[in-house]
């Protein structure tokens, strides 16, 4: 798992531009967001994924939507998502992405890792000035 996660983190997508006061996301987190979005929403086209991430983040991050496509191609090449051309609700031709079984496994693994990391970060940041736990 860690190996793939490292590859995952090192993907060269600077996915998110930090606007004034917006969050500057760690490299590679966009890939995880895309996976989760597809797992939660089912098949979705690029624009839909981008909008969904923006909505869920509550405008805390401003997504440079174009970068989603680099992330999508990366995930697809790894076999974690698959794509096919289809027709949207408003009758427009679009490329739809869906998470694969491999992708779900990866998502679960990465999510676990991420939770552990945030847990550790919380504890570290909650440290009192004396160095002991708060």
């Amino acid at each position: 798992m860690p190996h793939d996660f490292v590859a995952f983190l090192c993907g060269n997508a600077t996915g998110v531009i930090a606007g004034m006061g917006k969050l500057d996301l760690l490299q590679g987190t966009l890939d995880l967001m895309v996976l989760k979005t597809l797992a939660a929403m089912g098949p979705q086209h690029g624009y839909g994924i981008a909008r969904r991430i923006e909505q869920v983040s509550g405008n805390e991050v401003l997504l440079n939507q174009g970068t989603i496509y680099a992330s999508l191609v990366r995930l697809e090449q790894r076999g974690w998502i698959e794509s096919s051309w289809g027709v949207s609700d408003n009758n427009r031709k679009a490329k739809f992405y869906a998470i694969t079984a491999d992708g779900r496994k990866q998502l679960a693994a990465d999510a676990r890792y991420w939770e552990r990391l945030t847990g550790v970060m919380e504890k570290v940041l909650a440290m009192s000035n004396e160095g002991g736990p708060a």
Partner: protein, 882 residues
């Protein structure tokens, strides 16, 4: 797993660019429309909706670029772009490209060819399984030729039984010459070369027969059915590779021998044990019949796993001195020593230094090529200054430009390597078939994987070596100055020129070292040719005479006498004689001592022995210094006669006249009847040893065969048919043996030296040519650069002679600097090759002077052409042009 999958997809994406781009285009268009639609629903104006959509997307082109980068192989994209650009540039500059590729091909081709030789002779293990276990066993002081490198069959068997270091000990009969048996069949008897080997010879070497079986233990017993194995080449040549030959009998010298096996193509006895010799047939040595023949077997052993050479040596040191040469005659004593030598060392150890020198020489050629190319590229880079400045101005990074230049040099050296590989293939194929060069393993010479790897390595290394300097210089260029005046900025130009001058000086220096090395080797070779061999090879030729009845001294005398008398009647023949062994071919040695004298250990030496007819000494051009030649009547049963050489006379009868003295030779008394000048029996470079000549008609001694030597002023080929006819008339069984000039024996013996000398000489010539090219390039370029300056000087009254002198002076300064540097380096290098020289000092003044003169002359010629051009500059044109 996913990593691999992704890589494969990326590679596929790289090749599928247009389709994937179109798909991305469509996807982004859809994205935009979704966004616009949503923005319109938020009641923005259509223009505003589109603007916001694009802004959120963050730039269409950037999105595409990022996706492409994630999808495919960006580096490869750039590389391909660089490659295309390079090919275009090089195609535009055809002259430069052709010269560069040709120079590189010469340098790289020579390197591959030499590497193949070095690899075959030195680096690659011998073509036997577990060859590092194979050991050659020799006497410690092998002065007596083959006889002191061999052991009796009894000693061999005893060592086999007593030692604990070897899995197996085996041997071969060391004294058979070429064409020593006749193959009878339909038509004329054919001369073939047979060799007796111990029964376990092939199993010890790890050679399995291609067809049939190995020799069995029964095959090696007395009175067993005669069997033979044949070499692959002979099987193919003579029997058309017919597998049915196994089990059939062939007639060799009247003996029906059953063919039991055919050896594989990979086994070539001659190339390992006796360079230049081709063995056709092998027969098992019947040890029970050979015990009285003295030292006949050359020993080879295979060490047990884990036993080191040193352990085996110390065991051999304790065993060999105890070995009897003949069990039935313990009084013959035991005086064996053993020097264990790894078979590989035995085969190519003597050549190691020559090969390393050759390798260094060819490496130097490659360096010169690199320097030369560097120089050419620098000149080119100067001319292209503006182009690069423009690219920099348009945003190309320094890295990108260096990369472009490196791509160019890679392409050049790649093309050079391919062409060079072709040349090397031709050279290697030619060399592999040079049977006349006495180098071992030459037949197995080929361009193999290692050579290809080496090619790749030197191609890449050279391209970096010659491409980097100009690349870095260009990347550093002053943009503004370059754009302004086309890169001919005064200061830049001067440092440029300094760098090129330094390159030329180093090039001349390297050529200098090569020339000195080649010169010293050439002088050595000439000295070798000048050596007084003690005989005159130039007007003699020899043919091996078949003689079944020659074991008996009386019959032998009659037949030999008849042969010589008849041959001497052939027009053009000045003298004829017969000897069992010719100089510089097969040899054997016995002992000689003054009768009634006791000698300390080490006072006597193994003595080369030749059984000869009257007239032989004259026929091969030996000089009788004292006494008389052998006569047909020298057949006394109680006292034989012997002709000795000066060396024996000096050692056994110092300060006395040896003629008339009685010596003990091979267990019999022999009166010294004459003294001849020393003959170089092994090769021209080895000092002559002890040599004696015995009468062909003496019943005490038996010859090892018969070679008719004919002295003539005519070319030997003109006599060949006449001589063969006479031999056939006397003996219808005489096979069609080759009538060989004695000179070929001498040439064969000196062929390794000639080979190395020629190669180093060729490299030196190449180095000289490249140095000349380098000098020409620099001077010519500086004249072009200074056209305006020269124009002004001429306008101010400078004469054409003055201008020419200036340019030539500059040339000479470069050359002299290079020669001085090179001479210093040569002094060091010459010492390293001192052991390869013959009668030549490594500091031979003539060679150094010759080198300096040659280089100066070449420098002057290469400087003269641009100097002439400079003096013809028309001031008006030169000034107007700029």
């Amino acid at each position: 797993m996913t990593g691999l999958r992704r890589t494969l997809k990326r590679v596929r994406a790289f090749w599928n660019k247009p389709a994937l781009d179109a798909e991305l285009e469509a996807e982004l268009a859809a994205h935009l429309e979704f966004a616009i639609e949503e923005n319109l629903e938020r009641e923005l104006t259509p223009e505003e909706a589109r603007r916001v959509a694009l802004a959120n997307l963050g730039g269409m082109e950037l999105a595409k670029e990022q996706q492409r980068e994630a999808r495919g192989l960006m580096t490869l994209d750039i590389l391909i772009h660089d490659l295309k650009y390079t090919l275009r540039t090089l195609a535009r500059d055809r002259g430069f490209t052709a010269v560069a590729v040709l120079i590189l091909a010469l340098g790289i081709g020579a390197n591959i060819a030499v590497f193949s030789v070095v690899n075959t002779l030195l680096l690659r293990p011998l073509p036997f399984p577990g060859s590092e276990q194979l050991v050659r066993i020799l006497e410690k002081d092998p002065k007596g030729g083959e006889s002191s490198m061999t052991y009796s069959t009894d000693a061999m068997q005893e060592f086999q039984a007593k030692n604990r270091s070897f899995q197996q000990v085996t041997g071969y009969f060391a004294f058979s010459g070429s064409d020593n048996v006749k193959l009878m069949g339909n038509g004329q008897p054919q001369p073939v070369t047979g060799l007796m080997v111990a029964g376990n010879f092939f199993p010890t070497l790890g050679v399995e027969p291609l067809l049939g079986r190995q020799f069995s233990a029964e095959d090696c017993l007395k009175n067993s059915r005669p069997v033979t194995m044949m070499s692959y080449a002979f099987w193919k040549r003579r029997y058309g590779a017919n597998p049915g030959i196994v089990g059939q009998t062939i007639d060799l010298d009247g003996t029906q021998m059953t063919v039991v096996g055919v050896l594989p193509n990979t086994f070539d006895f001659g190339s390992v044990f006796s360079p230049g010799k081709k063995v056709d047939l092998y027969a098992p040595a019947i040890l029970g019949e050979m015990e009285d023949e003295g030292n006949t077997m050359a020993l080879v052993g295979r060490l047990k796993p884990g036993v080191t050479l040193a352990q085996a040596q110390s065991e051999a040191d304790s065993i060999f001195p105890t070995l009897l040469s003949n069990w039935k005659h313990p009084e013959y004593g035991h005086n064996y020593t053993a020097n264990l030598l790894g078979l590989k060392d035995y085969v190519s150890g003597k050549l190691r230094q020559s090969l390393i020198v050759l390798w260094c020489a060819v490496g130097m050629i490659l360096l010169i090529v690199c320097v030369n190319l560097s120089n050419l590229l620098l000149a080119r880079a100067a001319a292209r200054g503006k182009e690069f400045a423009l690219r920099t101005a348009l945003g190309a990074g320094r890295g990108r430009i260096v990369r472009q230049l490196l791509t160019e040099s890679l392409v050049l050296s790649g093309a050079g390597a391919i062409l060079g590989l072709g040349m090397a293939f031709a050279i290697v194929a030619w060399l592999a078939h040079q049977g006349s060069i006495a180098l071992p393993l030459l037949g197995s010479l080929r361009i193999d994987g290692a050579a290809l790897g080496w090619t790749l390595l030197i191609a890449v290394t050279t391209s970096i070596l010659f491409g980097l300097a100009p690349g870095l210089r260009m990347g550093r260029g002053n943009l503004q100055a370059a754009l302004k005046d086309g890169g001919r900025g005064a200061s830049d130009g001067r440092s440029h020129e300094r760098m090129r001058a330094a390159l030329v000086i180093s090039e001349v220096g390297l050529a200098c070292v090569l020339l000195v090395g080649a010169g010293l080797l050439l002088r050595s070779f000439l000295h070798v040719l000048d050596v007084d061999l003690g005989f005159e090879p130039s007007h003699s030729a020899a043919i091996s005479v078949d003689c079944n009845d020659c074991r008996d001294a009386v019959k032998r005398g009659v037949i030999w006498r008849q042969v010589i008398q008849r041959v001497e009647q052939i027009p053009g023949v000045e003298a004829a004689g017969i000897t069992d062994n010719l100089p510089m071919s097969v040899n054997r040695s016995w002992g000689i001592q003054a009768k009634g004298h006791t000698y300390r250990k080490g006072e006597l030496a193994d003595t080369f022995v030749y059984v000869v007819s009257p007239g032989y000494l004259k026929s091969i051009g030996m000089r009788l210094l004292k006494g008389r030649d052998i006569r047909w009547e020298d057949n006394d049963k109680t006292q034989a006669v012997v002709v000795i050489n000066e060396t024996i006379a000096r050692h056994l009868w110092p300060g006395e006249d040896p003629v008339g003295r009685i010596a003990e030779v091979g267990g019999a008394d022999a009166q010294v009847i004459g003294v001849v000048a020393d003959v170089h029996e092994t090769n021209a470079e080895t000092e002559a040893g002890w040599q004696m000549y015995l009468s062909a008609t003496a019943p005490q001694y038996g010859p090892e065969g018969a070679n008719l030597v004919v002295r003539t002023k005519l070319p030997p080929a003109a006599l060949a048919s006449g001589v063969t006819r006479v031999l056939r008339e006397i003996n219808p069984g005489q096979p069609a043996n080759e009538f060989r000039p004695i000179q070929t024996l001498v040439d064969h013996a000196s062929s390794p030296r000639r080979f190395f000398m020629m190669l180093v000489g060729a490299f030196a010539g190449l180095g000289l040519l490249l140095a000349a090219l380098g000098i020409y390039g620099v001077i010519s370029y500086s004249v072009t650069q200074r056209t305006q300056e020269i124009g002004i000087r001429m306008a101010l009254g400078s004469s054409t002679g003055r201008v020419q002198r200036d340019v030539l002076g500059k040339t000479l300064r470069l050359a002299v600097a290079g020669i001085v540097l090179g001479s210093v380096a040569s002094l060091a290098v010459a010492r390293l090759i001192a052991s390869l020289l013959f009668a030549t000092s490594p500091w031979d003044a003539g060679t150094f002077a010759g080198m300096a003169v040659a280089l100066l002359a070449v420098a002057l010629v290469s400087g003269y052409i641009p100097a002439r051009r400079a003096s013809r500059i028309d001031p008006l044109v030169a000034l107007r042009d700029n």
